[in-house]
């Protein structure tokens, strides 16, 4: 138990260091951006008509003060960390004065809902079918699946997404192609809204599953193909154990460990959003929020999204690190 506590403490320190470095890098990179949020705001504000140059000079000065850009970078750095520790990323510069945390809070459930479900479906299906294909190597249906997986996997994501759009949005228009739900529905736990969300998520989720399935399938099939030749599997089969038990308890379970690590990384990574999915399907989420923030030079929002993402990936890795010794006794507590 003491060994596990020491292992836990060590991983926790690693986690804190990784988060600290990651967030600092995000701060440096966003502040090195050539996009000036003040100029972006002036361009938007003055789009209404003819604005006298003297007025623009006054506006520039006032915006710098309003956005907190008049202090030194060191002062901004201190302010940033004090806000991060309070869970407050300050106001968004491109949606001033709305707090960054509100914007992320509104977008995150969409991203999390879509990506967690599609990632889990992809993972379960990919590993299950890959495991079966690796074990029942002569099965024609599973062989065909392998061919399809290898064929679909390298297709660029946006091509698959556009094909789905054209097929189900135009040629056979039975599925919604844009948005997270139908217009004019009250958001909440009511059936019209929930069913609408489910229907709107089918195409984006399907595109992610089609593209993601191949890598899990091929990875698992390859792992299982190696494991079936291991002595303990051959011994179990020779001993006359039921093939389903050999597959479940001897083969798949041993092959799963690296796949679980991959799953944790994928789940942590969902907080980056799925930019192309969101753009192609007009689906709400943090990916679009992040891209728009980069173009607008909205430091606060970029930092908010990246910080949440860094913390999420790090937490995912930490959790796996902590669970690994429990699920795989071969991992040493060092």
């Amino acid at each position: 138990m003491n060994a596990y506590l020491a292992y836990f403490a060590k991983r926790l320190v690693q986690f804190v260091v990784v988060v600290f470095i990651g967030v600092n890098l995000a701060f440096v990179i966003t502040h090195a951006s050539p996009i000036d949020p003040v100029e972006q705001s002036i361009a938007a504000v003055t789009s209404f008509g003819s604005t006298a140059p003297e007025a623009i000079a006054a506006m520039r000065s006032s915006l710098q003060e309003l956005y907190g850009l008049k202090g030194t970078v060191a002062e901004q750095y201190v302010t940033f960390w004090s806000r991060v520790l309070r869970g407050d990323f300050g106001p968004s510069l491109s949606a001033f004065p709305t707090p960054v945390s509100s914007l992320i809070g509104r977008a995150l459930p969409w991203t999390a809902g879509l990506l967690i479900v599609s990632t889990l479906i992809t993972w379960v299906l990919g590993n299950l079918l890959g495991g079966l294909a690796g074990y029942y190597q002569r099965n024609r249906t599973l062989k065909l699946m392998g061919v399809v997986a290898m064929g679909v996997h390298p297709i660029p994501y946006y091509i698959v997404a556009l094909m789905l759009l054209i097929i189900f949005g135009f040629l056979w228009p039975v599925l919604p192609i844009t948005g997270g739900s139908a217009m004019n529905l009250q958001q909440g736990w009511n059936w019209p809204f929930v069913s609408s969300v489910a229907r709107h998520s089918i195409l984006p989720a399907l595109s992610l599953i089609l593209i993601g399935l191949g890598s899990w399938f091929l990875g698992m099939r390859s792992l299982v193909s190696n494991i079936v030749t291991e002595d303990y599997v051959v011994y179990a089969e020779t001993a006359g154990l039921d093939s389903r038990r050999v597959l479940g308890s001897y083969v798949m379970r041993n092959a799963l460990a690296p796949q679980v690590t991959g799953l944790a990384m994928s789940l942590g990574g969902i907080f980056n959003g799925a930019v192309i999915t969101e753009k192609v399907f007009g689906y709400p989420g943090v990916g679009t929020l992040l891209v728009d923030a980069v173009y607008a030079g909205d430091y606060g929002l970029v930092l908010g999204v990246t910080t949440v993402s860094i913390i999420a990936v790090s937490v995912g890795v930490l959790v796996i690190d902590l669970l690994y010794p429990l699920i795989d006794p071969r991992v040493e507590l060092r």
Binding site: I56, P97, P173, I177, N184, G297
Partner: protein, 633 residues
């Protein structure tokens, strides 16, 4: 394994059955529970709105503007239509008449209309106009604070229908701040903002409107907004022109261009703000119900905006007008038009957009001068203007586009533009030689012996049509011996443009009213008093950082005359002549916006045949089309 196959088959059938069970009609992007025949669906080109529940347009850069807010819900004193308007381009909206200035333009008096009401039943009055100024001047961090504080010494409302603005300095164009072209200083409801502690942090949700529509519902995730016609629409300025056809307006984010095309083909998006030319051609071919501004080629509505090659005239190599003219003479605008718009462009040789009232005020009257215009290269004298370029583009397209290309020369002139500069690489070389440049092999060298490098900045994917134009120009300059390079700025263009961090870029520093001949809208800011030192931020809109004593004189003369004074056109023509001689920007074409209008549910859209309004969905004055739209049978 048999069981496995059975499970797989069952799963596949289930997966197919679940999503496709509802009817297609409910599966698509149409608002629920609103009759389609009462609903007009328009694109909001701002896309997904981050802070969807923010309607305080008077706060800086806070929420959406073209989600219907400035088109349907807000109002101000005057509007100018970029086209001909319902009854002329000028509208007295909240004002009862045109502005009245004193002799030295230090005071503006406005008479307001009576009988107009806010959507909560409070009557609009001069107190609202005064509060609009006072609140923003008092709170320096609001959208129009700087403009108003810069101009207004005080504002008085002696009675409910009179407002008197005392200005800090003479300004014969002060009223244009309250005149909608795309937007303007909108009037806020005093009775609402009086109760607010910090007006810059007030979300104004639900908005109290002065326009004919009020907010029905919106998506908290910013994808759509629905506005409903007020029951008392007669008590709004728009209502005085007739009852708006659509009971509901939905401003939506339909996604990327290909999805906009699909949405319109599915009749789920009545008005597309803009798409790529190829998308427009697809719609024209596949959907007989789609109508664009022009019935055939070039389809798009020419905005009163002039895309041009804008030089940084503070760049040592580009200070000399001979060099700028040389670069202009290396361009074949026909190829640029084909590359950018697949030929669906309206070209302009002069520095005024070829749209609205301008062809009659400037382009056509100046044809004779342009034909006689001569450049002395030092070795020869050339007349660079070719009045047939627009016609040549039409003829280039005729074999492939057939009947879509007009044959009437007048229509061709309006659609494709009149003339442009003949490509003349030899004359360009003579001009460069006179400027001290020399040719080494096929490469032009600067007077100090370095390769003549010209970077042309474009916005990349953010503005693909202009990027394609820029790429073609760079190719033509390269062929003529310039070390030209495309410089993709993507999202940094705005910052770099202001900082002067470019050699040249494709953009526009000329924007006009369209429906009015006055050019001060953009030109006033071109005065040399506003040009920044190299490296310092340049205010709108003289991105070329160009100064000229003659230009200053024209601007100062315009400042001294009334907005409607016919002398304004004469001064405008002087400006065109100066710009042609000096070429600080190379005018290319109008910014054609491919606004596609589906006539399946609505008819009566504005078009070039009946140019009563601007159909481009995000313009504030697009509201005038609502009163002419009728449900289709």
């Amino acid at each position: 394994m048999t069981r496995l196959r059975a499970w797989l088959l069952a799963a596949a059938l289930l997966a197919l059955a679940i999503p496709f069970s509802p009817t297609p009609a409910t599966a698509q992007g149409i608002p629920q529970n609103i009759p389609r025949k009462e609903l007009l669906i328009l694109e909001n080109p701002e896309g997904t709105i981050k802070n969807a529940g923010w309607f305080n347009i008077w706060a800086i850069n806070a929420g959406s503007q073209s989600n219907g807010l400035q088109q349907a819900a807000l109002d101000t004193l005057w509007y100018i239509d970029p086209e001909k308007g319902l009854d002329g381009p000028w509208y007295n909206s909240l004002a009862a008449d045109k502005p009245v200035y004193n002799a030295d333009f230090t005071e503006m008096r406005v008479k307001l209309r009576r009988g107009l009401f806010w959507s909560d039943g409070v009557e609009f009055s001069s107190a609202d106009v005064k509060a609009t100024i006072d609140i923003q001047v008092k709170n320096a961090n609001m959208r129009f604070s700087a403009v108003l504080a810069n101009n207004v010494a005080s504002v008085e409302a002696p009675d409910a229908e009179t407002v008197i603005f005392k200005l800090k300095k003479p300004n014969s164009r002060f009223h244009t701040n309250f005149t909608v072209r795309w937007g303007a200083v909108w009037i806020l409801p005093k009775h609402v903002f009086d109760k607010v502690e910090d007006p810059a942090k007030f979300d104004f949700n639900k908005p109290v409107t002065l326009g004919a529509y009020t907010l029905h519902s919106f998506d908290p995730d910013g994808k759509w907004y629905i506005w409903q016609l007020r029951e008392d629409w007669q008590r709004t300025s728009l209502g005085s022109l007739g009852k708006p056809g659509p009971k509901y307006l939905a401003y939506v984010d339909p996604g990327p261009p290909d999805k906009r095309v699909i949405a319109q083909l599915n009749h789920e998006l009545d008005v597309i703000h803009d798409i790529a030319p190829e998308g427009m051609f697809t719609l024209a071919k596949q959907d007989k119900g789609t109508r664009a501004w022009f019935k055939g080629f070039p389809y798009g509505h020419p905005d009163p905006t002039l895309p041009a090659v804008i030089f940084n005239t503070q760049n040592e190599n580009l200070k000399n007008r001979d060099v700028r003219w040389a670069l202009a003479l290396m361009i074949d605008v026909k190829a640029v038009s084909m590359a950018a718009y697949r030929g669906a462009a309206t070209i302009s040789a002069i520095a005024v957009p070829p749209t609205g009232i301008h062809p009659e005020a400037y382009h056509k009257p100046m044809e004779a001068w342009l034909k006689d215009f001569e450049i002395d290269t030092g070795k020869s004298k050339v007349k660079p203007y070719d009045p047939t370029v627009g016609k040549q583009i039409a003829e280039m397209l005729r074999p492939s586009m057939g009947d879509q290309i007009p044959s009437d020369p007048a229509v061709i002139g309006n659609s494709f533009g009149l003339g442009w500069w003949k490509t003349n690489v030899a004359a360009a070389g003579e001009l460069l030689t006179r400027a001290g440049f020399r040719k080494q092999g096929n490469q032009w060298m600067t007077p100090d012996g370095k390769p003549f490098v010209v970077r042309l900045m474009v916005e990349g994917d953010l503005r693909p049509v202009m990027t394609r134009a820029g790429t073609m120009i760079v190719q033509q300059w390269k062929q003529a011996g310039i070390d030209a390079r495309i410089d993709v700025a993507q999202g940094t263009l705005v910052t770099r443009r202001a900082a002067g961090d470019f050699d040249s870029f494709i953009g526009w520093s000329v924007e006009t009213w369209g429906g009015h001949q006055d050019l001060s809208y953009f030109m006033d800011s071109w005065h040399s008093q506003f040009v920044a030192e190299p490296g310092k931020p340049q205010p709108l809109r003289n991105w070329q950082r160009w100064t000229h004593p003659e230009l200053d004189k024209i601007i100062e003369d315009i400042r001294k005359i009334d907005f409607d004074d016919p002398k304004g056109v004469e001064l405008g023509r002087d400006y065109v002549k100066l710009m042609t001689r000096e070429m600080p920007i190379i005018p290319l074409m109008a910014y054609n916006v491919f606004t596609a209008m589906d006539q399946t549910y609505w008819t009566g859209y504005p078009t070039s045949d009946d140019p009563y309004a601007n159909p481009v969905t995000n313009w504030g004055n697009s509201r005038y089309m609502f009163v002419r739209l009728k449900p289709a049978n």
